[in-house]
């Protein structure tokens, strides 16, 4: 085996993603299902694979079980082999107790022994939270060409959205000369995508320098920009953070649009469909004589007896006769009973909607959820994992039905707009 140094990848997959509400109740944001049988992290991992990078450490923290099961040994992304590897790096206790990660830089610092055991020329730092297609190999070449200490993947976003991101000011050589972390009054519309290429030694030095610097965006990068060579690597194309219910829903809808600029197949996105310990070899989707399906994504194992329009269905979803599923996202093994209607709804796994019910009724799309007005305010209703919606119930807009809700929890047949159960 050659002793050639390689690029090491560190994937930050600890994100809580709390604005995704009940979708992240039992899993980390990167493990949230997306576009049928994928999960959000599949996009980052597949980009890594398709860029020819073969050594990956995945930093987990928040509810990692579902994520770890999904990653397995990394076979799905071709990370198994003599010189390849995917290693899961959970938080561990150090000399002091309670060494939970205090920030992104702290998380990497706590795994500095992993970095030292895997010498490389560069380290690619990524988040597992985003939907995009990018060739990191080209970015690494750019990084080398610029002789940069740090290169940051950046793209132009609307001025109104920049407050969610790290924002950079660049000169005509793409050198970053100014930085604002989540600015309220931004001077630039160039946003950090949370993708960094670090010179290996530079990263180690930065991490050893000061333990109080716990975050890349808040501490390490501003200091690097002031003192060292930091460049922006411009990215043009589809990139979504899917950190809110609305953006998550929109990105799913992007997948099924005819002129869509996002294509899991076209991008070579892989997934591990053996997750959850369930056998992955579900039979083809079955469409009965009465099925009507349009503008939708339907996964293996689905049985469609009713109508599905503008919706994304994960494996094993059953839509019974007379049922209508519209503008909705259903996770694996949900069932929609006879003559029930799902409109603008996201259902987590194994939700059972019994017959003659409506989820997403009425036209009060603007009436936000009362408990979580910042999470649900565009009309989307959420149904949590394994909830059962009894027969004949009507649920309004921006409602939340919590996970494992049983039939007995419904004291009335009507759940008003903005209610949480």
């Amino acid at each position: 085996m050659s002793a050639k140094k390689e690029t090491l990848v560190l994937l930050l997959a600890g994100g809580v993603g709390s604005r995704l509400n009940i979708l992240v109740q039992s899993r980390a944001k990167p493990a949230v299902p997306f576009a049928g049988h994928y999960r959000i992290i599949d996009f980052s991992l597949s980009n890594v694979m398709n860029s020819g990078l073969t050594k990956v450490g995945v930093l987990t923290q928040y509810k990692p079980l579902s994520l770890m099961r999904h990653l397995g040994m990394g076979e799905a992304w071709d990370f198994t082999g003599r010189s390849r590897g995917l290693k899961i790096l959970p938080p561990h206790t150090g000399f002091q107790d309670s060494d939970w990660y205090k920030g992104t830089a702290d998380a990497v610092r706590q795994n500095i022994d992993f970095l030292e055991k895997n010498p490389a020329d560069e380290v690619v730092l990524l988040s597992g939270d985003h939907i995009y297609n990018m060739d990191f190999h080209a970015m690494i070449e750019y990084h080398r060409f610029k002789k940069a200490d740090v290169t940051i993947g950046m793209m132009v976003v609307p001025m109104s959205e920049i407050y969610q991101f790290g924002a950079g000011v660049i000169d005509d050589q793409n050198r970053i000369i100014g930085w604002e972390e989540k600015p309220e009054h931004p001077k630039t519309n160039l946003a950090s995508m949370g993708i960094y290429v670090f010179d290996y030694k530079y990263l180690l030095d930065s991490l050893y320098r000061d333990k109080a610097e716990v975050d890349f965006g808040m501490h390490i990068l501003p200091r690097a920009i002031d003192n060292d060579n930091v460049f922006a690597y411009p990215f043009y194309g589809y990139w979504r953070d899917v950190g809110t219910i609305q953006s998550y829903w929109e990105a799913n809808m992007d997948v099924i649009r005819h002129d869509s600029s996002i294509s899991p197949a076209g991008w070579g996105i892989r997934t591990n469909i053996e997750a959850d310990g369930r056998p992955a070899d579900r039979p083809p989707a079955r469409f009965t004589n009465d099925a009507k399906v349009s503008c939708s994504m339907i996964s293996a194992g689905c049985v469609i007896r009713g109508t599905v329009v503008n919706s994304v269905l994960a494996p094993g979803v059953v839509v019974e006769e007379g049922a209508i599923v519209r503008d909705s996202i259903l996770f694996a093994d949900c069932s929609v009973g006879k003559n029930s209607i799902m409109d603008l709804t996201i259902c987590d796994k194994r939700v059972k909607i019994l017959a003659d019910s409506v989820v997403g009724s009425g036209t009060n799309h603007d009436f936000p959820n009362i408990k979580q007005p910042k999470h649900l305010y565009t009309g989307i209703s959420l149904v949590g994992k394994e909830a059962i919606i009894p027969s004949g119930v009507s649920i309004g807009r921006n409602c939340i039905i919590n996970s494992h809700t049983q039939e007995s929890a419904f004291s009335t047949k009507e759940i008003a707009d903005g209610e949480t159960l």
Binding site: A35, G36, H37, Y38, A76, I256, H258, S263, P264, A265, I269, R270, T271, I273, P279, A280, D281, R282, P283, P284, A285, R286, F287, T288, N289, D290, A291, K292, V293, S294, C295, S296, M297, I298, S299, A300, G301, V312, L313, A314, P315
Partner: protein
């Protein structure tokens, strides 16, 4: 840990001429079936669900596709300390005796040539089955019956349409155990005028010593088939041969017409073949089907009474059909009563009626195959793999297109008449 007592041997070597272009490049057992699987998956899944953990596959015709499909056997949970799947291809050794080493001259010869392998496993019973049939069976019930009767050989039989019985091994079974089974009083291999309608499923359980001796004796003859030679031989010797009566669905895919019919049995409100309920397992790595994205159904598409697997993109109309991974159906195209294998591209406004299409072909715009849509088709129209069929080509009902027809050849063809063979 208990040692597995049953050794299963799957006969997967044959080509079957009547499947025509579908078996030019693969054995019959590796023919795609059910929108994502292969025919042999039914036998393998039955073995998995029957808890039979030592399996050998006898294969000699174009086995590449089959070897790929079996992989490590992990898909059927057949790797582990006491579990294993072995592919047994024909081999040469240092003897000149073809009885020891050479091509398999028949199913019985194939097993005979691998007796070393068989004896190494010291099985208590040897289960020999065909990899070519579509059915769901728990072999343990039959093994129990075999031991209850202390039989030398137990064979599974199913009742078929008497008019078709002449194609199979047929038996007269006495009523010793009523609906469970009975002793064979007579056996005819492919009789011209069958006296009963009990057809052999080619599922046989042998007492090991009986099998060894029968195979040794059979070597002195010139024909080496279980159905034609071994069973009649044991009957003639007065051995204890029992019939085990099977009553479930049995799909026989010996001709393209039968293959088509068995495929149609996957459809309908209560399909005779329910792959989900049967727990059918396949190797998701084969042809990378685990990487296919879910089906995309575009505006204006219509899909009725059909199975469509991941990787398909449908813009046209699909009725009573089965689409394997990676099939694209463009706008205005109508697919009816058809089975389209992996990665076929159907151009705009194509009309397909009762067509079986092997993998990797492209139909240009406006291609017609089979009789007019909605009219009753009698014959299957067959399209072999790797064809690029030019725009507006008309292919008559029952025609056969060989694989790999060159573009020069297509240039000289204006239309293909009914039942014509283009090679």
């Amino acid at each position: 840990m208990q040692k597995p007592s049953t050794l299963a041997m799957i006969l997967a070597g044959s080509r079957v001429d009547k499947l025509d272009v579908l078996t030019y490049y693969r054995p019959k057992s590796a023919v795609p079936f059910g929108g994502f699987a292969r025919v042999i998956d039914f036998a393998l899944s039955n073995l998995l669900h029957s808890g039979i953990e030592q399996v050998a596959i006898l294969s000699q015709y174009r086995s590449y596709s089959l070897i790929n499909h079996i992989g490590t056997g992990a898909a059927w949970d057949m790797i582990g300390r006491n579990r294993g799947i072995s592919l047994l291809p024909p081999f040469k050794d240092n003897s000149d005796n073809v009885a020891h080493a050479d091509w398999y001259r028949g199913s019985a010869d194939a097993v005979y040539k691998n007796l070393d392998f068989v004896k190494y496993h010291q099985p208590e019973e040897i289960l020999i089955l065909s990899g070519d049939h579509i059915y769901k069976m728990d072999y343990r019930d039959m093994i129990v019956y075999h031991h209850q009767k202390d039989a030398d050989l137990t064979i599974a039989f199913v009742q078929v349409d008497k008019a078709k019985a002449h194609r199979f091994g047929v038996a007269a079974i006495d009523s010793e155990d009523g609906e469970t089974g009975g002793r064979l009083t007579n056996y005819w291999e492919k009789p011209e005028d069958p006296e009963t309608n009990w057809a052999s499923l080619t599922v046989l359980i042998f007492k090991p010593e009986v099998l060894y001796q029968a195979l040794r004796e059979n070597q002195k003859t010139v024909s080496f088939e279980f159905g034609r030679d071994i069973i009649p031989q044991l009957m003639a010797q007065g051995k204890k041969v029992y019939g085990f009566k099977y009553t479930g669905y049995w799909g026989y895919t010996g001709t393209t017409e039968e293959y088509w019919q068995a495929s149609m049995d996957l459809l309908g409100d209560n399909p005779s073949i329910d792959m989900q309920a049967w727990g059918l397992r396949t190797n998701m790595e084969h042809r990378g089907i685990s990487d296919a994205q879910p089906v995309l159904i575009r505006e204006g598409a219509e899909i009725h009474n059909s199975l469509v697997y991941n990787g398909c993109i449908v813009e046209g109309t699909v009725r009573n059909s089965i689409l394997f991974p990676g099939v694209q159906v463009e706008k205005g195209a109508v697919i009816e009563d058809s089975v389209l294998f992996f990665n076929n591209h159907i151009g705009a406004n194509c009309k397909l009626n009762k067509v079986i299409m092997d993998v990797n072909s492209v139909l240009g715009e406006g291609v017609c195959a089979g009789p007019e849509i909605a009219s009753e088709a009698n014959l299957v129209t067959l399209i072999g793999w790797n064809n690029h069929i030019p725009d507006n080509m008309c292919i008559g009902e029952g025609a056969t297109i060989y694989p790999n027809i060159t573009s020069e050849q297509w240039g000289q063809v204006k239309r293909i008449a009914a039942e014509e063979v283009l090679r």
